[in-house]
């Protein structure tokens, strides 16, 4: 076994870092890739999408639900999103508003149409399942560089595409994961695959992104069109329960005129 002798001062420094915070700071290469990923996905302003969620249990029985999602890019913080449920029919009209934040808990409101009531809900539930699916709330919230510390793990091929493999360690103590491993394609900085590890460091689930499509959005700064990639199919498989969930996006539309006003909690009861 090869022994590496570190200078005592560095050893002490490393040990004390480990004691103060078990999470090591990002390495340069991992951080640079993730910063570039965020940069390439900045400037889309807003979008709307229609999606079908297909839940499959361990016995292979499926059930589906339909929803619409509206998202607003927020500069300097996490994005705002509004989800409106169309099926199952008993939750039709239920609307979920979320302001995700780079640090700290998200702000979340739920509109219950039967009672005409807007309810602010506890937001530390980011590790909880979204609508009974294998997606947790935090899986669907916007990607922000500050949410993780990064470690570059090397290169890998995913379906013929060259990727970088990067370890993400959540900075939020309320995350349901000990770490994520993401595969980022080297050409467009899109995530092709993510593995989620539970708090006990066991592999929990694998999320794959496919059917990527590019959308062009005109940039306010230079008037040029910028391309944004969105996966039309997200499939997550839970290795511990055998359950899986597919998200099928059918209608991505950018720049539909959404503004801050559409994400006000008082607008929730109007969501259609």
């Amino acid at each position: 076994m090869k022994k590496i002798y570190l200078p005592i001062s560095l050893t002490v420094a490393l040990m004390s870092t480990a004691v103060i915070s078990p999470v090591l700071a990002s390495d340069d290469q991992g951080l640079t890739i993730m910063q570039e990923r965020k940069l390439r996905d900045t400037g889309w302003r807003s979008n709307e999408a229609t999606l079908e969620m297909r839940l499959t249990n361990a016995q292979g029985q499926t059930s589906t639900r339909n929803l619409r999602m509206k998202s607003l890019e927020v500069k300097g913080d996490g994005d705002k999103s509004l989800s409106i449920f169309d099926t199952p029919h008993d939750v039709k009209g239920t609307a979920f508003l979320s302001f995700s934040h780079v640090t700290g808990a998200d702000d979340q409101w739920l509109y219950l149409p039967a009672l005409k009531r807007v309810k602010r809900i506890a937001s530390r539930n980011k590790s909880g399942p979204f609508m009974g699916s294998e997606f947790a709330y935090e899986d669907l919230s916007s990607f922000e560089v500050e949410k993780y510390n990064y470690r570059y793990l090397g290169e890998a091929d995913i379906g013929g595409e060259k990727t970088w493999k990067i370890e993400n360690i959540p900075t939020d103590q309320y995350s349901g994961y000990s770490k994520l491993i993401t595969w980022i394609d080297q050409q467009h900085y899109r995530v092709l695959k993510t593995e989620y590890y539970d708090r006990k460091s066991a592999l929990l689930k694998t999320l794959t992104f496919s059917n990527y499509q590019a959308y062009e959005v005109r940039q306010e700064l230079d008037g040029e069109n910028k391309r944004f990639w969105r996966a039309n199919l997200l499939a997550v498989e839970n290795h511990q329960t055998g359950k899986s969930t597919q998200l099928n996006f059918s209608e991505y539309r950018f720049d539909t005129g959404l503004s801050e006003a559409d994400f006000n909690k008082s607008k929730l009861k109007r969501a259609r």
């Binding site: 589906t64 199952p88 029919h89 009209g93 807007v118 506890a122 539930n125 590790s127 008082s266 259609r272």
Partner: protein, 390 residues
């Protein structure tokens, strides 16, 4: 044929293209009362069906819409519970920073669970549910200003809705039957009195704050004896100011509702305050466990016509986070001054895409004849509700 008709209609009156969307539900309900009735003529079982379709007709890309939601229930036992209502029949006009609605609608104010103290716009449809969380449609002109400094809602409320009361054969009623045909009013305008309400609400970080004022006909009637063995509702004029505040701090929700109310005969304060704590992922499962506790207080003490004068509510909510959206709710409200309590167990789950089953049990106990709950003490109930959503 349809398209031809639509085209003819369009060319005739130059309306933009419109299409009506419909959704709603039909439900079948069975209520069974376990103990023998306390009062004469009361039955032990009641079966009912209810229907509530909602029609939504948008135009100008949804900036304007007409919403129409009628409701009807047909009950096998209680003629008063067989009733219908227009829950919504309104035109709404939506802008980014203001909204206007005109017609019949339902508005909810408040944050607490054990009672909805400050929720004053709509009349309670008391025959519908045990805890009175079902409301009747209220005619209104409602303007909302949505600004940086918060949301201001102004209401002009013409036309008053009288509360519904259980009939002679029904359970969960007062010892003497309330004759709603004998309703009396303080105002000479009676049900035509025009009421006003104003509410300001705002989110400040983790805090959601509301302040409201209301002036007009009291939704809560004073029940007065008439004739030999009947009660008549008397609707006084009143004004009230109220506040409702929720702090959302991690897993903790802290809630308070309070009001000051001045009526014809008395003025008083009342409040409800408590918390809801959510334990996420109980024992490494997907189940969330919510623990609720709220204290209800009314300055009038035992003279109050509410069971919530000095009562502690304890509840727990299990959210299974499963495919069928299953939930289980347990709650107990205990009077701290006299031996009186009510308990509730409610569970619900979905079947397929369209069906939802709801099971509910209520238990009542009271040993004091002056307690509002005393007349319900033999009305322990099991209820099954099967609802089809379309």
């Amino acid at each position: 044929m349809k398209s031809y008709f639509a085209a003819a209609l369009l060319s005739a009156i130059h309306l933009p293209a419109i299409a009506v969307e419909m959704q709603g539900s039909i439900s079948l309900q069975q209520r069974s009362f376990i103990e023998s009735a306390q009062f004469a003529h009361q039955g032990d079982h009641q079966t009912s069906i209810a229907i509530e379709p909602e029609f939504y007709l948008p135009w100008h890309d949804g900036q304007d819409a007409f919403i129409f939601t009628p409701f009807a229930r047909l009950d096998s036992l209680d003629d008063e519970r067989s009733h219908w209502d227009i829950q919504e029949a309104k035109w709404v006009h939506l802008r980014d920073d203001w909204e206007f609605e005109l017609g019949v609608g339902i508005v909810f104010w408040g944050v607490t669970e054990s009672q909805h103290l400050v929720d004053v716009i709509n009349q309670t449809d008391q025959v519908e549910t045990v805890n009175g969380d079902r409301k009747l449609g209220q005619p209104m002109a409602h303007l909302s200003l949505i600004r940086d400094w918060g949301v201001l809602d102004a209401f002009v409320l013409p036309g008053f809705r009288e509360r519904t009361f259980t009939g002679e054969k029904g359970r969960l009623r007062t010892p003497l039957v309330v004759n709603t045909n004998q309703a009396r009013y303080e105002s000479s305008a009676k049900a035509q009195h025009i009421d006003f309400a104003l509410r300001w609400s705002r989110t400040l970080g983790d805090w959601d704050v509301g302040l409201a004022g209301f002036k007009g006909t009291d939704r809560e009637p004073i029940l007065q004896p008439v004739g030999q063995n009947e009660l008549a509702p008397y609707y006084q004029q009143m004004w009230q100011v109220s506040t409702d505040i929720q702090a959302t701090l991690g897993e903790w929700l802290w809630k308070i509702e309070a009001l000051h109310k001045e009526g014809q005969f008395e003025h008083y304060q009342a409040g409800v305050a408590g918390f809801e704590y959510t334990l996420i992922g109980l024992a490494d499962s997907n189940i969330d466990l919510g623990l609720l506790s709220e204290y209800n207080w009314d300055r009038r003490g035992l003279n109050a016509n509410t069971p919530y004068q000095n009562d502690l509510f304890l509840g727990t909510r299990l959210v299974f986070n499963d495919v069928d959206g299953s939930e289980l709710l347990l709650g107990v409200a205990r009077d701290l001054e006299q031996m009186s309590y009510s308990g509730r167990i409610e569970g619900s789950t979905r079947f397929g895409q369209h069906w939802r089953l709801n099971l509910e049990a209520w238990l009542f106990y009271s040993s004091e004849a002056n307690d509002p709950l005393y007349s319900w003490k033999d009305d322990d109930m099991l209820s099954i509700n099967l609802e089809y959503f379309f």
